[in-house]
Symmetry: D3
Subunit: 68 residues, 6 copies
Amino acid sequence: MPYVNIKITDENVSNEQKQALIKGTTQLLVDVLNKNPKTTFVVIDEVSTDNWGVGYDQVTKIRHLADE
Amino acid sequence: MPYVNIKITDENVSNEQKQALIKGTTQLLVDVLNKNPKTTFVVIDEVSTDNWGVGYDQVTKIRHLADE
Amino acid sequence: MPYVNIKITDENVSNEQKQALIKGTTQLLVDVLNKNPKTTFVVIDEVSTDNWGVGYDQVTKIRHLADE
Amino acid sequence: MPYVNIKITDENVSNEQKQALIKGTTQLLVDVLNKNPKTTFVVIDEVSTDNWGVGYDQVTKIRHLADE
Amino acid sequence: MPYVNIKITDENVSNEQKQALIKGTTQLLVDVLNKNPKTTFVVIDEVSTDNWGVGYDQVTKIRHLADE
Amino acid sequence: MPYVNIKITDENVSNEQKQALIKGTTQLLVDVLNKNPKTTFVVIDEVSTDNWGVGYDQVTKIRHLADE
């Protein structure tokens, strides 16, 4: 009965991509650990780029610098 | 000083229900472990049904199938 | 399909107390939100008092001061 | 490669405050543990005061009582 | 820069299985969301079966019933 | 009443370092957001390098390669 929490930045993740993350993660736990998919939970958290920091900076700022 | 995180799907949870979850969880920690309620935190995360997967599928899809 | 994570300090929590936390939390989600207990997960994390801080100090130190 | 999750109530946290939390947390991990800032993640979760409980009550209610 | 937390019961997970979970999860985030693997973190938590509950019971008890 | 969770690899973190992380994080929340230190929790999780992955690999392997 695994529980998987995927935290990603909130940058236009489509419904198809969410479904692919859920399906792929569940399949991985079935394949590697023989877990029951019926009790495998996958929860995706989409985090604002203002609220995610790396290397001292907000991701929002990192994205702006990359676009320049 | 317990910290409890309750993750549920975002499906019209009322303010009264949130209050009941907070009160009940806090009381449980007082009763079972003699914790101080003043330093018992309960945090409720409401997760979009698109972002919660079980059995390979998004809960959104599972709800739609159940309604048919 | 709720997921509840209970973080408490690692201070001689008995197996009976763990069972009571699991049973009580699950019952609360059934009573308040009509959730299915078969897909309600409760995960208890026991954290060393060296690794839990409140009010600037480790809980280990707070416990020692309280014992004096 | 530390991962730090800061959960705070959603009460008008400014962008400058978020940036200060990210910068300060990252600097702390560099100073104390000599971690590489490029692989130090800081994720801030802003939680509705309806969804955060302490001392049996929602923070929303606690704030209202404090204002009276 | 995704962060993935996999919580599973602590039941003799081998080092090869951990490596497979890390590799598979990272590949999934590269394939689905085009994320950079160098800043994709995967953290596996192995939880004692005494500390994981489902359907009102500890997993320890569920495993014993299944063995009978 | 902030809750901060610091996840780091389990690599000989001393008690003094843990105390410094707790003190520094709490001070940051006091300074930036004017939070009450008495209800500011800091929880440190030390994760085995076998259980932490980055760039497709376990940190254990990355450390061994760095030592060669």
